[in-house]
Symmetry: C2
């Protein structure tokens, strides 16, 4: 499988939902497979909060594969020998696309808080501009989970001619207070971290890779990505063997697991990006510029497949149900399908329990 990673610069202004303008801006993206002659084999993959354009394969010398490598590759469900897959790092992120730590033109200093709040719709708009610039005007499928699912849904509503198939996993039509509350805790931990320096952290601070607020935010995030059942199955009440049960800081294995993931997170993610992307998630409402959900969904022409997970503690299956119900209410039962997957894993099931739903995606691709 050939991996191509590119960055594209745009000098035209990007008009954002907020009324603010981003100019110039860059988008980092990755492609796999080969675009066929009639450009009919495009699959767009949208990433989640801490994801990136690197969704499959290994970079040279890299131990860890892209974030959906079990799904995407030669001979895999999303088959890179048949399809041309493209995944774009979202605006506001920290993997190459323009974000709060990018240098602002013409001062060439990091934006920091001068970076505009971008919305999910802004992220999608920028991707659409990139695709246009690449001569790609149609996609077979747009697919994504969590925040990627929000983007997918927006593609369906705002660019109804773009994709034949929209696939939304473990996501929502509008972020509910439960998810906003989880983000709140992470955001507060980041802001109150002295190393964050009120957003004016230096290159050296970043190199230390020790933003403890970001670590706490990650631990908190992990609670919402897992579930009571998956934690019980994976950790139960097992204690770290070398820690004392009556030591104040003795740890259960679930605690060590959170420590590990919290500790590593600042090595690869940026605190300001975390603030901006969670903001985009919090204010996401697919119907924000419409009178109703039904009016928004009235625009959808693609087949819409919803895949939700019973144990998802972040975006509850009933939120996906609202999408299905709204589609049916406006007579679109022919083009909406909702699969509720039996899973205890939690929100991250869309990343790890592929065997429970990949056949639905296969079916879509073989239609």
């Amino acid at each position: 499988m050939k991996i191509t990673t590119k960055k594209k610069k745009f000098t035209n202004p990007l008009y954002l939902e907020s009324g603010r303008i981003l100019e110039p801006y860059e988008l980092m993206y990755e492609t796999y497979g080969k675009l066929n002659s009639d450009k009919s084999n495009v699959i767009v993959v949208c990433h989640a909060l801490t994801g990136s354009h690197h969704c499959a394969g290994h970079y040279e010398g890299e131990r860890k594969a892209g974030w959906w490598d079990d799904m995407i590759g030669d001979g895999k469900t999303i088959d890179t020998s048949r399809y041309f897959i493209i995944c774009v790092n979202v605006l506001g992120s920290c993997f190459g696309s323009t974000g709060p730590m990018s240098l602002e033109y013409p001062s060439f200093k990091p934006f920091r808080f001068k970076f505009p709040v971008v919305t999910i719709k802004d992220m999608v708009k920028a991707q659409k501009i990139l695709f246009d610039s690449l001569g790609i005007y149609k996609a077979k499928v747009v697919i994504g989970g969590s925040m990627g699912g929000m983007q997918s849904l927006v593609f369906g509503v705002e660019y109804p001619k773009f994709a034949e198939e929209i696939v939304v996993l473990a996501s929502t039509y509008a972020t509910q207070p439960w998810a906003i509350a989880f983000n709140k805790v992470s955001r507060e931990a980041i802001i109150r971290d002295p190393d964050f320096k009120d957003g004016y952290y230096s290159k050296e601070d970043v190199e230390k890779k020790k933003f403890s607020g970001l670590s706490i935010g990650r631990m908190n995030g992990y609670i919402s990505y897992l579930s009571p059942n998956s934690m019980e199955e994976k950790f139960g009440r097992k204690h770290v063997e070398t820690d004392g049960l009556y030591e104040l800081f003795g740890r259960f294995q679930i605690e060590r697991y959170l420590d590990y993931n919290g500790y590593n997170f600042p090595k690869w993610f940026d605190p300001l990006s975390y603030l901006y992307i969670t903001k985009a998630i919090n204010i996401f409402d697919v119907a924000s510029n419409y009178d109703s959900l039904e009016e928004a969904f009235g625009k959808i022409e693609a087949n819409l497949t919803l895949i939700s997970f019973e144990g998802d503690m972040l975006f509850l299956p009933k939120e996906m149900q609202v999408i299905e119900d709204s589609m049916k209410k406006i007579g679109k039962e022919e083009i909406v399908t909702h699969h509720l997957i039996k899973s205890d894993y939690g929100h991250d099931a869309f990343l790890v329990e592929l065997g429970k739903f990949d056949f639905y995606i296969q079916r879509i691709l073989n239609e």
Copy 2:
């Protein structure tokens, strides 16, 4: 209703589960109503993580009532004109009973990390010693929710002759990794707070009432005390009117609510106590000194009433179900009753949705 608040000092050593010894120690407690001549009207109320001995009525000049004032008082469900109610501040807490910021004998410096880890069983043991010293050898009812429910259950197992009725609300037989994970985030936020000064915070630090780690911990706690449904009902996606939707720090109402509760928490709670009490909760396992749950529950002689709440996101109803099932397995179906309350509120239902279960408690008291 007469409120009597007292502190009692014990000079005999308290032998803790860890093998460590607390000597001397003090217990703060509060009583309501009058002990009758044959001492047959005692009700013991056990408090939760951030609760105290002050469970009912108003202190002079106090705006806020005790934490279960809707339940306890003259003519209320737990009727102080009929019963003698006693509620003890647990060891490790910060409302007068010996805890990590108490002065250690004979140095008269705060214990801080020298304070021993106490367990739920230790908390109960100390209460039992207090009751003995007051000449109270029997209780009509021992009742508590959340961590108070753990104490209640331990009273039933460890002192089977003490109470006629044990009532456990919104609690568990052993803390599961999901709850431990929530505690973990709060504990990390506390520990990494620079004002915490690695536990060596000064009197002045305390007076500033601004431990930001404790604030974050409280926000995180609130997520687990509420539920997706209660947040949707109470806040939905309502935004703070004066905040901009595209302001990076513009807030939804759920965020303002968390801010408010987070901000206030350090005014009345101590960070070291939070670490010690969450530790006691994390390591709670009613069967820890037994071969099995069934062996532990085999000791119970009192009637055991379990009240769980469908929407409880901290201690799930299925954990209470385990208690019921274990009791039935050993032939104690006659003395166990489990009421699963239809409620979307979440864990805090035991504090706020009294109308949904108080009649069960009335029934117990009128038997």
